[in-house]
Every structure is written in C-alpha cells, then in structure tokens.
C-alpha cells in the first residue's frame, strides 16, 4: 500500500502497519512528535492501535526554532 508521509508518497510493504511501528522504523522518538492521521491528531496512547490504510495522509510534526 501507499501512504502520504509528510506530503511525500511512501510505499509500505509491511502488513498491519501502525503509527507506532512507523515511528519506530523511521527512528523517530515517539515523545518528540505529534502525529496527524488524515487531519486528525492521534493521541500517543493510540499509536499502537492506529493501523494505516492505503492512501492515508500521515503528518509527523515537531517543534523547531522559530520566532
């Protein structure tokens, strides 16, 4: 299946991909980001239960320096 990760298409070969697993595979500490799935914010305690579907839009957002 294919998802849109931070605006870029990404092919997922793993079956039953979840938000938690995606973060783990990308090497992103879960506590350092906020996750939006199809424009809905996913609470951290739901990462493991949030399965990704074909064409899902996933945004991984974090704080950066800014004024």
């Amino acid at each position: 299946m294919q998802i849109h990760l931070n605006g870029t298409p990404k092919t997922i070969t793993t079956e039953s991909m979840t938000v938690a697993r995606l973060l783990q595979e990308l090497g992103i500490p879960a506590a350092s980001v906020v996750v939006e799935l199809n424009k809905t914010i996913i609470q951290p305690d739901c990462y493991a239960a949030s399965s990704l579907q074909n064409n899902d839009q996933v945004e991984l957002i974090r704080f950066v320096g800014g004024g």
Partner: protein
Amino acid sequence: MLTDMLTIGGHTFNSRLFLGTGKFSSSAVMKEAIAASGTEMVTVALRRVDLNNPEDDIMIALDRKKCVFLPNTSGARNAEEAIRLAHLARAASGSSWLKLEVTPDPRTLLPDPVETLKATAELVRAGFIVLPYMNADPILALRLQDVGAAAVMPLGSPIGTNQGILTAFQIEIIIDQARVPVVVDAGIGAPSHAALAMEMGADAVLVNTAISVAGDPVAMARAFAQAVEAGRTAFVAGMGSRGKQAQASSPLTGTLATDLGFLA
C-alpha cells in the same frame, strides 16, 4: 524591581524580554543566549519532521521549567490553517499558550487582520491563551482584546527586517487603550529599539533575529536584557515631556551677568 511583574494568561513574568528561537547557529548557542537573556518565554515553530534527521529535536535543548513555551502558527496563511496548527501545537506542547500568526504573503509576512481576528475568537473559545501577532492597528487591538486575546503583539516593522519601531505613533495609541498587555514584536533590530518600546510603555518585547544572527548572540542577548530593563525602569520612573523651546537645566538667577552687570 520585584513588584514590577508582568502577568499574561495568569502567568507571572519577571523578565519582559521574550525570545524567539529561530536562526541560531546551534542548539548550544541558543541555550546560552536564552540563559544570558534572562527570558522566561520562548517561541517555537511547528514543522514537518525532517525524516533525514529523525532525532533532531529542539525540545532537548530547552528547559521548560525555566521558560514558558509559546508555539507560533508561522506558515499559516488563513484562520483555518492557523487553527489546525494551534491544535497540533497544543498536542505537542501539552499547554494552551499560542502565538497566533497568520501571514498570507511570504514577501512581506504582514499579518492578515481579518483572519487573525477570526482565528483569535475561535481559539479563545477552544481554551487557548492567544497572543496574536498583528499590524500596529489600534482598532484591531481593541477588537482582539474584546474577543479574548491574552495580550496583543503589534509589529514594530516587518519580521526579520531589524528596522526598529516604525509604527511608534500607532503603538502609543495601542498602549494607551489596551486592557491587556502589549508585546511589541517583529523588526526590533537593536537594543535601543527594545529600550524605546519599553520607554513608550510596552509591557514586553519579543526579539529573535537581532539576537540569533548577531556576531555574538550570547552577548547580544545580554545587551537586550539590559536595554529592556533600562527602558522599563525609565517608563516606570516617568519620563519628562518633550518641548520645542530650550528649558535651562541650570538656574537662570544668580549668574555673574545678573549680579555684576558687567557683561549685560
């Protein structure tokens, strides 16, 4: 002056210098500049994670016990985008502080007054502590405080220009009318600009570029802290009024000319 504290959104601040965290050369320099500035409020932005640097996290360098985090909605071009970013910011920070920025034109980065007012009203209803970045428009400042803004943040000049307080006349009116704190934001390029804003009666200033891109950001942070303190102290002390005609500082009686007459 321990009694001269600033309160915004129920939080009390000793320092009236707020610091932006953009454009520092490294996290280490930023951290040191924050310490040197004495600030108790720092702004941060939200962006997509750089998937090539998955562990690059600014929060590691910031001490949330010492500073209030003020996430901004930079990048938002309208109220809808700003509100989406606000909710992401609240989820990421666990707090409701928000610097609302709606800047549709990347060339000027001037704030959209209509969308800013709309987003402020909605975010206040959603429980956010909203500090809207705004043009120095006294009427808009009143409208924003009427819908519940915790403070207003009029610009001195466009973001990152270091042009100083080009909007002094309007900011004076805003300060005169405001029932909420006035934080002069954007364009402050030198400690003297910050001092001027504080002498005018601004409650605080927000500085980023002038410190982060300085030759020595840590020393510049210290200079801004001194300027803000000096300007505030001068405002509280009460400044003398301006005049057009000379007013002698020395007594005009008892001079040699009067008493002896030989020079008259």
